[in-house]
């Protein structure tokens, strides 16, 4: 996994790119955090069990230090973990998630970004979308009650 960082006023935005595997050292990759930390997670295609451990260890330690952190653009792989593991977000705010879609015509897989606040308002119902490849009808492609499970907890 690689991390690209950018300072945006009082917050540090860390863009995660690549699979989260083995004992990834977040502490070293992100470095000292002054102000809030925002994790942009659209580039995480999968997470293994060691990655889950490293993630929870890092964010639990941030929480203990009193650092505020939030997650944006969470990939389906990240959303799956947030929904399956009750403490995966470690108290961080999940601002937006990538919702998986599949085209009913050409079967192209895509994602559409949603704010979690909007999803809660709509009762976790997502509208169909246009396929970015063929323009056909793209529909939500997962099991609603499992994929959006974390929204019921928060």
């Amino acid at each position: 996994m690689k991390i690209k960082k950018e300072q945006d006023g009082g917050r540090l935005i860390a863009h995660l790119q690549g699979p989260l595997e083995n004992s990834f050292d977040f502490e070293r990759a992100i470095g000292p955090v002054k102000g809030d930390l925002v994790l942009a997670c659209s580039g995480v295609p999968r997470i293994n069990s060691e990655g889950v451990k490293a993630w929870i260890q890092y964010f639990e330690s941030l929480k203990k230090k009193g650092t505020h952190f939030s997650f944006i653009e969470c990939s389906p792989a990240v959303v799956q973990q947030i929904s399956a593991i009750s403490n995966f977000a470690c108290g961080g705010n999940v601002i937006s998630i990538q919702v998986p879609y599949v085209c009913t015509k050409c079967r192209h897989e895509s994602v559409v970004l949603f704010e979690t606040a909007d999803l809660k308002k709509s009762g976790n119902s997502v509208p169909d979308a246009a396929c970015p490849k063929c323009g056909g009808q793209s529909v939500f492609d997962d099991i609603e009650e499992e994929f959006f499970a974390f929204l019921k907890r928060s």
């Binding site: 699979p19 997470i47 293994n48 929904s83 079967r107």
Partner: protein
């Protein structure tokens, strides 16, 4: 041991499924619709090769437990949990009696597509009845014109590149991108188990269980790890074999199944990774077949349904099969 499969169920879908599975395995089926009727079969001294059971609640499970306990010791030993296949509709976490009990050898999670799964499970059933081990990838793919690829890893640090190759292979051959990522994760978890959890010393103590999974270790001699991946028009699979045969049923149940006792699990940072990984593979739609010959070898195979959509893939029936010799 009589040459038949016994199904205890009132459900027509179960019957269709088991009849097809037994047909593939080349064994006739007898169907009874109650534990009481099964008792009559057992009391006649007939021990089936395999029993498929629909025990939807704890009461019927207890009834079955009493029935087994009322039989001879020879019968009880013959009908080890390896031969019992539980058909469930609930999530595993909703069947704590099954997890806690002594029979949780093989668990099949029903789905709308159960009746189409009989052919696939028939080959799994064959594997469970074989004394030589599963050889399922050969049966599943090679004989049906499918593709298999073998990876022999010389060092632990070769894992990452092997996993990427596995992912790319499945994408290249038309599996959904998200399913390919799940398969890659499964390959990763199975390899970590074989490299770091399976090796034991002469006293049976794990050698590398506390070692960081990024550590570069040589995989030579008994530590060699082989991975085979395969696929055809219907399924993809990953098989990983180690030469230690150190897998224990209780540990497996603890790590893989008991995590499901809660609605969602809460992870302590001290928790070892592997069991959670396998649990997530199952949760994400993979089926798992564990075959362990004590102190000789363990083979773990993860199966994944090829599907047009992720929702269809997730809706397919899944199984967790454990065979210990």
């Amino acid at each position: 041991m009589k040459d038949f499969v016994l199904l205890i169920s009132k459900t027509p879908e179960d019957r269709t499924f088991v009849e097809r599975a037994a047909q593939i395995a080349g064994i006739p089926v007898r169907v009874v619709d109650s534990i009481e009727s099964a008792g009559k079969v057992f009391q006649a001294g007939e021990i089936p090769q395999a029993v498929f059971l629909d025990l939807p609640e704890e009461r019927s499970y207890r009834e079955f437990d009493q029935l087994v306990n009322a039989q001879s010791r020879q019968f009880q030993e013959a009908l080890l949990s390896d031969r019992l296949h539980f058909l469930i509709s609930q999530n595993i976490d909703e069947c704590p009696y099954l997890i806690a009990g002594p029979y949780a050898g093989n668990i099949l999670k029903r789905s709308r597509a159960l009746e189409h799964g009989g052919e696939h499970y028939g080959r799994i059933l064959q594997g469970t009845l074989s004394q030589r081990g599963p050889e399922l990838l050969g049966t599943e793919f090679k004989n049906r014109g499918g593709v298999t690829r073998e990876f022999v890893l010389g060092r632990t640090i070769e894992k990452q590149s092997a996993i990427e190759k596995v992912r790319d292979l499945f994408v290249e051959h038309g599996f959904l991108g998200r399913v390919a990522e799940v398969i890659a994760t499964a390959a990763d978890e199975l390899l970590m188990n074989a490299m770091f959890d399976a090796p034991v010393d002469g006293a049976g103590h794990q050698i590398y269980s506390k070692v960081d999974r990024s550590t570069d270790l040589q995989l030579v001699g008994r530590h060699a790890v082989k991975m085979v991946v395969g696929f055809d028009g219907a399924y993809g699979a990953v098989s990983v074999v180690d030469s230690f045969g150190s897998l224990e049923r209780t540990k497996l149940l603890k790590h893989v199944l008991k995590l499901y006792k809660d609605d969602t699990y809460h992870l302590g940072t001290e928790v070892a990774g592997a069991g959670i990984g396998l649990a997530s593979v199952f949760q994400l739609g993979g089926s798992l077949f564990f075959f362990s010959e004590q102190r000789k070898k363990t083979e773990v195979i993860a199966f994944f349904k090829r599907a047009e959509t992720f929702r269809e893939y997730r809706g397919h029936f899944r199984f967790l099969t454990m065979q210990f010799r």
